[in-house]
């Protein structure tokens, strides 16, 4: 496991992420134009979705998929409650705790990519349809966060309007992910043959530039945001992933997933959103400070998962599924 951690640490994408953090902390003016950053995230979502769909076209739909999707929804909707209790315990106020909790129920697409990359390197097979599970886990956490925020507080109200629900469901990143998934499913191997150079071969390169950018953003967040974090709250960013992963491992064991798919579900449980959820929270819980969630999820939890978490989840998954 240590060897895996070291190897993971020395992968180009992790190194580019560190380079971004370093440049940001050192106040370099290195930056990625906003239009490029938005394109890279669109590219990653399309590539991940398409590959997932092409995999499903290859393997077909199974009962395991349906069960795993249910497990994903339960995890996404349930974890925010645990996160909220922990964050309140760590001293965060009601609204901020609810907002951050929403981030930790949802998932991070790049962390998903990282675990599949390591599994591929280890030649550990996993189900292509796990991308569909990732997609359904994006949103339930948002509703749990709102439920939590409203409970016993008059101030936060009226957000479950039809408009708001549509905005959440038709969020651009979810449409891109699911749309590309559908295209991959319909066109299958034929589609993959023509799109392989762009969506597959160039993927590690685009991912490195994206992670460089994420590092730059995380570094900015850490630079400006660490003072507003207590040690207890920072500790949450490293403890919560383990709890999420543990619940995911339990579900995976109940469903009887393979070691590879178990590792992925654990990683999904352990990861925190920093693309889809922040926007929803901004709309629904304007009183929450977005810098807190960003610093925790991108500055602390994401590198933790990349370096320590993923090797650990894979080791556990092999025991659980072995």
């Amino acid at each position: 496991m240590l060897a895996l951690a070291v190897q993971n640490l020395a992968s180009p994408s992790v190194l580019f992420f560190s380079m971004g953090i370093g440049a940001s902390l050192g106040r370099s003016d290195l930056s990625v134009p906003e239009a490029i950053a938005r394109f890279l995230s669109l590219y990653l979502l399309i590539s991940i979705g398409f590959r997932g769909g092409a995999e499903v076209a290859h393997q077909g739909l199974t009962l395991a998929l349906v069960l795993t999707i249910v497990a994903g929804i339960v995890l996404s909707a349930g974890l925010p409650f645990i996160a909220y209790v922990m964050l309140r315990g760590a001293g965060l106020d009601h609204v901020n705790a609810a907002a951050v909790a929403g981030h930790y129920g949802s998932i991070s697409a790049v962390t998903f990519v990282a675990v599949t990359g390591v599994l591929t390197q280890l030649a550990l097979p996993y189900d292509g349809h796990m991308i569909a599970v990732a997609a359904v886990m994006e949103t339930p956490a948002i509703f749990s966060a709102l439920l939590i925020a409203r409970s016993g507080h008059q101030g936060v109200k009226g957000q479950f309007s039809g408009d708001f629900l549509r905005e959440i469901a038709l969020n651009g990143s979810i449409v891109a992910l699911l749309g590309a998934f559908a295209v991959g499913w319909i066109t299958g191997e034929r589609g993959m043959a023509s799109l392989k150079p762009f969506l597959l071969d160039a993927f590690p390169g685009f991912l490195c530039v994206f992670l460089l950018d994420m590092g730059l953003i995380a570094g900015r967040g850490l630079r400006d945001g660490w003072r507003s974090l207590s040690i207890a709250v920072a500790g949450f960013a490293w403890g919560m992933p383990l709890i999420g992963a543990a619940f995911a491992a339990l579900f995976a064991w109940l469903i009887g997933l393979s070691a590879g798919s178990t590792a992925i579900l654990m990683t999904l449980g352990a990861s925190a959103s920093y693309i889809a959820v922040p926007a929803a929270m901004r709309l629904a819980l304007p009183a929450a400070n977005p810098a807190i969630a960003l610093t925790l999820s991108l500055g602390l939890t994401f590198p933790f998962n990349l370096i320590v978490g993923i090797p650990f989840y894979i080791a556990v998954a092999q025991m659980v599924a072995g």
């Binding site: 930056s31 990625v32 134009p33 906003e34 950053a37 938005r38 890279l40 995230s41 905005e167 969020n171 651009g172 950018d213 730059l216 953003i217 900015r220 400006d224 920093y274 693309i275 889809a276 922040p278 926007a279 929270m281 901004r282 709309l283 304007p286 009183a287 400070n289 977005p290 810098a291």
Partner: protein
């Protein structure tokens, strides 16, 4: 050149709220407006930059409308209701427009 007195209302607004604000301006009578992207700034919540941002939560815009002075008060009430709870600064100034608008 004939000039007519108007008010220019300017709002600094987050990306996440922009659509809501635009829909509201539509609803209360198809108010014309223009939007330009910001590259960064600083406020009570500290310094920020647009570069590198990916999510819909990041980014701000400046939206302005040039309207009849008579409409200003109503409009400000509507705008203020939307941005009051959130980041956002509303300012009003005097302009003159050219021609028959």
């Amino acid at each position: 050149m004939q000039l007519f007195a108007r008010k220019r209302i300017e709002i600094l607004i987050e990306r996440a709220l922009l659509k809501r604000l635009a829909d509201e301006l539509d609803r209360i009578g198809e108010i014309p407006y223009s939007v330009a992207p910001l590259a960064g700034g600083r406020g009570r919540a500290g310094r920020w930059e647009a570069d590198g941002q990916v999510g819909k939560a990041a980014g701000m815009f400046v939206l302005w409308c040039i309207v009849d002075a008579a409409r200003t008060d109503d409009l400000l009430k509507v705008l203020f209701a939307i941005v009051a709870r959130q980041v956002g600064l509303i300012s009003v100034s005097d302009v003159q427009v050219c021609g028959q608008t």
